[in-house]
């Protein structure tokens, strides 16, 4: 199962009661968000609205279809904007 790491302690942790690392049953980014929302109500929305994910090292922003492998390492980080 892919492992999710809340690299950022920001808003996300308030949904997981401080939990920063856990496994999630999901095969792509969209299913990941739905699963996060089911397990930690609010977190899925938070991830979708204001966070980016790094899947096995690469940053993705808003890309539902990105595939997750079993054993994928998924970091939830603040969404990146810029000037």
């Amino acid at each position: 199962m892919p492992t999710v790491v809340l690299s950022s302690g920001s808003a996300a942790q308030q949904f997981t009661a401080g939990q920063t690392e856990f496994e999630v049953e999901a095969t792509n980014f969209r299913r990941l968000i739905l699963e996060l929302e089911r397990r930690f109500p609010g977190l899925g929305h938070q991830v979708e609205e204001s966070m980016a994910i790094a899947i096995d090292g690469e940053i993705f922003q808003d890309a539902y279809s990105v595939e997750l492998r079993p054993g994928s390492e998924i970091y939830l980080i603040p969404k990146i904007g810029g000037g």
Binding site: V5, S7, S8, G9, S10, A11, Q13, Q14, A17, G18, E49, S50, A54, D56, G57, E58, I59, F60, Q61, D62, A63, E73, Y75, I77, P78, K79, I80, G81, G82, G83
Partner: protein, 755 residues
């Protein structure tokens, strides 16, 4: 298709930009240059206090003044629920944005808008503002970030409970959130360190200081349709914010992108547009608004000032084994400093086993910060790169060697999660080593500093259209405001794909009703993401043109090849036909399927991160403390320079802004929390005579995720300058200047203290 290894005819050359002539003749239309029939002038009443409750606002006298057509206050704006979203740059809470555009019950900083008028002339509008009676209950204020965090500090928002800490705090504070990033075991790291250096640093808020003040023209029609002409980094962003803040449907709002007179991140929010639309709705007339320079400084977003501590542990050979950082960022009056990127960027240049970073997002009675070129990175990097210099000195290792030894490479896992891929940091450091500036002997009395910088760069949603006109010329339309030459770079990529000269392609910025959604111009994304969309649109056009040629010649499509702007039979057995160029194919378009155009909308992923290193020589007048930049070289991995002149321009401009940040720019507040230098006279941006030439060195490590290998280039160059200059001053005087700006009085005081 990927063109990285192809021989290119247009990309990499330096044609004149499509919008150039308009901009050197005064024809270019910026927002303040627009007019409408029956137009009124809108002006805003701003708070004279840093922090106060609005007891009452009486607008009757103002409304009664002849020539006044509308007066609005917070009551004329819908209440917005607290909802965080990502429309502009970085997370933004719609309720906060609405309150920032027009205060309701409380003003949170000097310059905070609390009422507005629309009148037939600017003078009448000013008189009307003077007739608005406001009763304030002045509250204690707090300006400095650490004061704002202290127990007992005046609290700006009774409902702000620090997020990111568990358990959730019981009491409200000015700390909006705490962000933490951890990698490895920081204690074990410091335990194995043979040398440990520590430092505390502060930076001041600095303004983007674009020369064009915010301006817009809004027209609300009785049928609910809204037209807005506005200067911004994203007309789709303006549309989204206006719709959200005023409860309108997006289809009723059309935003026309005026030319934008500089933004640097500062034009990624709305300030005037929702007010202008509301005034227009109430008056039934078009309303034009423009900020004064003083308004720009007092009421639009600078970037955060910060207080920081950094601690780095290393082996004697220079191998860094532990790195720790605490960052306290000012957000201004509402939450949302660039603390996330601040925490991620400081150590991103290095391969570090054990990292611990904690960041605080802190509100105080200052204007809400806005994005500014690599938001957060220059601040955090000033601290880290200053301390890296101290570490090199303490270890007796050359500053470049120390960085080479710890440099991030492909496969390096960052402390915030991602793994660096296809990065050019070592190539940049190689370029430093071989550069004549780095190798040149230091002049008598001069000091030399080196510092590096990182920015993620982003992709995101972009739309582009490529039209082949009836005569075979080409129009490329995108949804990205051109803030510094992107019309040129996008047109060049389209021309390259079509095999025509750059001058054959005119690039335009289409309004929100004329092209697909496009995320704003920011994050150094336009040449990457919008360029990618335009390239794909051009490729679709080429496929269509080949089909039309095949149809004309009555041969299979795969027997047609496209080169040098024309269709050719692919080899002799395809048949002998005269090539059909764009003009020939356009002439017959009606017979081969109608008009020739393609639109592509994408969400571009895979923006390649950018790295840079700056070398700076300074001299210091030891009697006055004045620092002179004697020589400056900025080296950066740009992936692939589409139009090298504008890439160099981004690097030179970013470096110049960094030099101002380092030496002379700051907000000066008096004891009442009022800004004392809200103008270009005393908010000191660099002038021509302050600057040396800035040598921009382009290192090209292609980004495989972009068809031409491009990376964002606009933000990295503002990251290294402050530390590069601080390190140069250290080299010239032996003094570490930990507080920005390194202004003459501070430098002279440090020299005196050192005796």
């Amino acid at each position: 298709m990927n063109y990285i290894d192809s021989s290119l005819k247009v990309v990499g050359t330096r044609p004149i930009r499509p919008d150039g002539v308009d901009k050197v003749t005064g024809r270019a239309v910026f927002a303040a240059d627009t007019r409408a029939s029956g137009m009124l002038w809108g002006k805003i009443l701003r708070s004279p206090h840093a922090h106060a409750n609005i007891v009452s606002i009486d607008t009757t006298k103002a409304a009664a003044l002849k020539g006044v057509f509308a007066v609005v206050t917070g009551q004329d704006f819908p209440e917005i629920a607290s909802e965080e979203a990502f429309v502009g740059e970085g997370p933004m809470n719609f309720r906060d944005l609405s309150l920032n555009c027009m205060a309701r019950t409380k003003v949170l900083y000097e310059g905070h808008a609390l009422a507005a008028v629309a009148a037939s002339t600017q003078e009448i509008a000013d008189q009307a503002l003077a007739l608005i009676d406001v009763t304030y209950e002045v509250l204690p204020h707090v300006i400095d970030v650490e004061d704002a965090m202290a127990p007992g500090a005046p609290v700006l928002h009774a409902d702000m409970f620090t997020s990111g800490v568990t358990p959730k705090p019981e009491t409200a504070s000015n700390i909006a959130k705490v962000v933490t990033f951890k990698k490895g075991d920081i204690d074990a790291g410091f335990a194995e360190a043979e040398v440990i250096v520590e430092g505390s640093y502060t930076t001041q808020p600095v303004h983007q200081a674009y020369i064009e003040p915010h301006a817009c023209l809004a027209t609300y029609s009785p049928d609910g349709q809204v037209q807005i002409h506005s200067s911004s980094q994203g007309h789709f962003m303006i549309r989204a914010y206006v719709a959200k803040l005023l409860g309108m449907s997006i289809s009723n709002i059309r935003v026309n992108p005026a030319e934008i007179g500089g933004g640097f991140g500062g034009k990624t929010l709305v300030y005037l547009e929702p007010v202008a639309v509301t005034l227009s709705k109430k008056s039934g007339r078009s309303v034009k608004m423009q900020m004064t320079r003083e308004d720009v400084f007092r009421a639009s977003g600078p970037t955060s000032g910060a207080a920081m501590t950094v601690k780095i542990g290393a082996k004697k050979d220079g191998t860094i084994v532990a790195a720790q950082q605490v960052l306290k960022f000012q957000a201004g009056a509402f939450a949302g400093s660039p603390i996330g990127p601040g925490c991620m960027c400081g150590f991103a240049m290095y391969d570090l086993p054990n990292v611990d970073v904690v960041g605080y997002d802190v509100v105080s009675n200052r204007p809400k910060v806005a994005a500014y070129r690599a938001p957060g990175a220059p601040i955090t990097s000033f601290a880290v790169e200053s301390l890296m210099d101290e570490l090199a000195i303490k270890l007796g290792i050359d500053a470049l060697t120390l960085r080479e030894k710890n440099a991030a490479k492909n496969g390096t896992k960052t402390h915030y999660g991602p793994v660096h891929q296809n990065i050019g940091f070592t190539a940049v450091l190689d370029a430093v080593k071989s550069h004549p500036h780095w190798k040149s002997p230091l002049k008598e009395g001069h000091g030399r500093g080196l510092a590096t910088g990182f920015w993620f760069n982003i992709g995101g949603e972009s739309s582009a259209q490529v039209h082949v006109n009836e005569d075979g010329t080409v129009t490329a339309a995108t949804g990205s405001p051109d803030i510094g030459g992107s019309r040129a770079s996008i047109g060049m990529m389209v021309a390259e794909v079509l095999g025509v000269p750059a001058t054959t392609v005119r690039t335009i910025v289409a309004d929100t009703a004329s092209i697909g959604f496009t995320f704003l111009t920011g994050g150094s994304r336009v040449t990457f993401a919008t360029g990618m969309a335009a390239t794909q649109a051009a490729e679709k056009v080429v496929e269509d043109l080949k089909r039309r040629a095949a149809q004309t010649w009555d041969i299979p499509v795969d027997a047609v090849e496209w080169k040098d702007g024309a269709a050719y039979p692919a080899g002799s057995n395809a048949g002998a036909f005269e090539p059909l160029d764009l003009a020939a194919l356009a002439l017959k378009a009606g017979r081969t399927g109608g008009p020739i155009l393609a639109e592509v909308s994408i969400n571009a992923q895979g923006a390649g991160p950018g790295f840079g290193a700056h070398i700076c020589d300074v001299s210091v007048d030891k009697e006055t403390g004045h620092v002179k930049i004697e020589r400056y070289t900025a080296i950066q991995d740009v992936g692939k320079a589409i139009h090298p002149s504008y890439v160099e321009g981004q690097i030179q401009g970013g470096a110049a802004q960094g030099i101002g940040w380092a030496l002379s720019e700051e907000y000066i507040y008096n004891a009442k929390g009022l800004m004392e230098n809200a103008g270009f006279l005393d908010y000191r941006v660099p002038v021509a005579s302050d600057m040396p030439m800035i040598e921009a060195v382009l290192v090209e490590v292609p980004n495989p995720r972009h068809p031409f290998g491009a990376r964002g280039v606009g933000e990295v160059p503002i990251v290294p300058p402050m530390a590069a200059i601080a390190n140069a001053i250290r080299s010239a005087t032996g003094l570490r200047m930990p507080d920005l700006p390194m202004s003459p009085p501070k430098v002279r005081a440090a020299l005196d203290a050192a005796g």
